[in-house]
């Protein structure tokens, strides 16, 4: 069940340049959340009226806490980055469908993420029980790396070659000849396109998490659709709602 509440800020820190990590006291929202879902955060300034959808980086169901890790992309996220422990922020969630989690122990999952697509992979990596290879791509500065330690085999790439493989996640996968049984992915669209191609080539399933400009965040306004290969359940056309039918899709069901 979705809830619209004032969430207390437990802590906040800048973990890389313009990348912030915030723990929220989110009560029941955390208790019902799964990896791959997101929450909407509302600005305290009513002139910024649309919520900012931000993915869940860690979910502490028992403690009722959520961690979000986000990049400052504009005035709204800058405002959130200035919140301190003891402050509060309006949130709505949990939203979206989340990643399927029923992989058998014998399977080998590739978790592929780029840039600000890295944070949701942490919640997923902590929940998925099968063998995991985690491939993380960054522009330059790597973040959350230590959080992934012990959750699987970790491979990193940086565009400027400052650490790991020089290039993107696909370069890292090619360099190390990485193969798996299923892919979980989040990142920029060109990366997701490449992930989809790889999955089609190897005849495996790829779960991709999409991003789109949203308004309501709950499936009512039809603002955040993506083109789908099959007929969607809502409008019976070829438009799935990223906020409600997604954000996680089987790569085969969406046109990237």
């Amino acid at each position: 069940m979705k809830r619209y509440v004032n969430a207390g800020v437990i802590s906040q820190e800048e973990i890389a340049q313009n990348i912030f990590s915030m723990w929220l006291d989110a009560g029941q929202i955390a208790a019902g959340a799964v990896p791959g879902q997101f929450i909407s955060l509302y600005s305290a300034d009513a002139s910024r009226l649309l919520p900012r959808p931000i993915s869940l980086c860690e979910i502490d169901r028992e403690g009722g806490r959520l961690r979000i890790v986000y990049r400052i992309a504009g005035a709204g996220t800058r405002e959130f980055s200035q919140l301190r422990a003891g402050d509060a922020v309006r949130i709505l969630g949990p939203l979206g469908n989340g990643y399927p989690l029923e992989e058998k122990d014998s399977r080998h999952a590739l978790l592929i993420a780029g840039g600000i697509g890295v944070p949701p992979m942490l919640a997923l990596a902590k929940t998925l029980q099968c063998r995991k290879t985690i491939i993380l791509g960054y522009r330059s500065e790597r973040f959350l790396l230590q959080d992934f330690q012990g959750l699987g085999e970790i491979v990193t790439a940086t565009e400027d070659g400052s650490a790991g493989v020089k290039g993107n996640v696909m370069d890292a996968i090619a360099a190390a000849h990485i193969t798996g049984d299923v892919i979980y992915s989040c990142g920029p669209k060109p990366m997701l396109r490449a992930v989809k191609d790889l999955a089609m080539e190897q005849h495996i399933t790829a779960w991709v998490s999409l991003e789109e400009r949203m308004a309501c965040g709950i499936g009512a306004c039809l603002g955040c659709v993506c083109e789908s290969t099959d007929v969607d359940a809502h409008s019976h056309v070829h438009n799935k709602r990223v906020c409600k039918d997604g954000p996680v899709f089987d790569a085969r069901e969406v046109v990237l």
């Binding site: 002139s47 009226l49 649309l50 009512a220 306004c221 039809l222 955040c224 056309v237």
Partner: protein, 302 residues
């Protein structure tokens, strides 16, 4: 005893607060946050005689105190709407106003005929003001002769009261309002969104795939209040006011300017509980101002 009830061309509403077409779906998603039984009416997302795909994404862009949208009237068509959405809404003790869109007069008529036979439908709102589709929508809403003709044609076949939803993208709203009334409109609603554009300076491209979109939110409220005032003074049919309402005080501006009812749109995105809060806020205001009937506030500022 405070009476929030209104009579809108023969249809009794428990209060004057409804939600704007396109911002609230058919109510299912928002029912997690708002008890639909508390609303005067739910105005559904526009429905056409066949499914419409709408525009490509991005369809949404935030602007100061507002937003642009270019959804393009994506909808599942009347068949699915009647099978799924209307039975859902029939469970609630609220009025159901169905917004109708079309590419041509024939499409409007076909949809209106179908809805005329559906007992769940209390009223129809005809969208002749969507700025985001090339054919239909706004093409019918910016020329008084076309407004008269489409209103007249719809009234001939509609068994339900007809609300014509007007566009603000016109020079003289009073003239358009009079054309709708002359065509037989039972009520008019305004304003739809104001055509706008946003450019992403860093990427040097349009923020919306459709290039232009409809501006809504508090940014347009003064324009909307002015147009509601002008329209209310131009016609004798009821006026439903909307455009940037976020709270009871905003809603009361419209009512005092001449609106018999008000509609909450973009504010639902900022706070999904807004519509119910506006109902409570109007009741509080009436108590403070020793006003028994909300009707007595309509057009009170001359």
């Amino acid at each position: 005893m405070i009476d929030l009830g209104i009579d809108l061309c023969g249809v009794k509403l428990k209060n004057p607060v409804m939600v704007c077409s396109g911002t609230f779906g058919s109510g299912a998603e928002y029912s997690e946050f708002v008890d639909l039984n508390r609303l005067g009416a739910v105005v559904t997302k526009g429905v056409a005689v066949t499914p419409w795909t709408g525009n490509p994404a991005p369809r949404i862009a935030e602007t100061p105190s507002g937003m642009l949208n270019a959804i393009g009237l994506q909808n599942p068509g009347i068949d699915v709407f009647e099978e799924r959405d209307l039975p859902y809404l029939a469970q609630f003790d609220t009025r159901v106003i169905v917004n109708v869109c079309g590419h041509s007069e024939e499409e409007y008529i076909a949809c209106v005929k179908r809805l005329s036979e559906n007992d769940t439908v209390d009223m129809l709102e005809i969208n002749i003001s969507c700025p985001n589709v090339r054919e239909g929508g706004i093409a019918f809403g910016t020329d008084p002769k076309a407004v008269f003709a489409i209103t007249n044609a719809i009234k001939k076949v509609s068994a339900k009261p007809v609300i014509m939803k007007l566009s603000p993208n016109v020079t003289d709203i009073a003239e358009i309002a009079r054309a709708a009334e002359a065509g037989g409109a039972d009520a008019i609603s305004l304003i739809n969104t104001i055509t706008g554009m946003k450019i992403d300076v860093e990427r040097q491209c349009f923020a919306l795939a459709n290039r232009t979109g409809g501006l809504s939110g508090p940014a347009i409220r003064p324009v909307a209040v002015r147009m509601v005032y002008q329209a209310a003074h131009a016609v004798s049919v009821p006026v439903i006011g909307m455009g940037g309402i976020t709270c009871a005080s905003d809603a009361l501006e419209f009512i005092l300017a001449g609106a018999s009812a008000v509609s909450i749109g973009t504010a639902n995105f900022h706070n999904p509980c807004t519509a119910a809060e506006v109902v409570d806020g109007i009741a509080d205001y009436m108590e403070r101002h020793h006003t028994d009937h909300v009707q007595s506030l309509v057009g009170a500022v001359k």
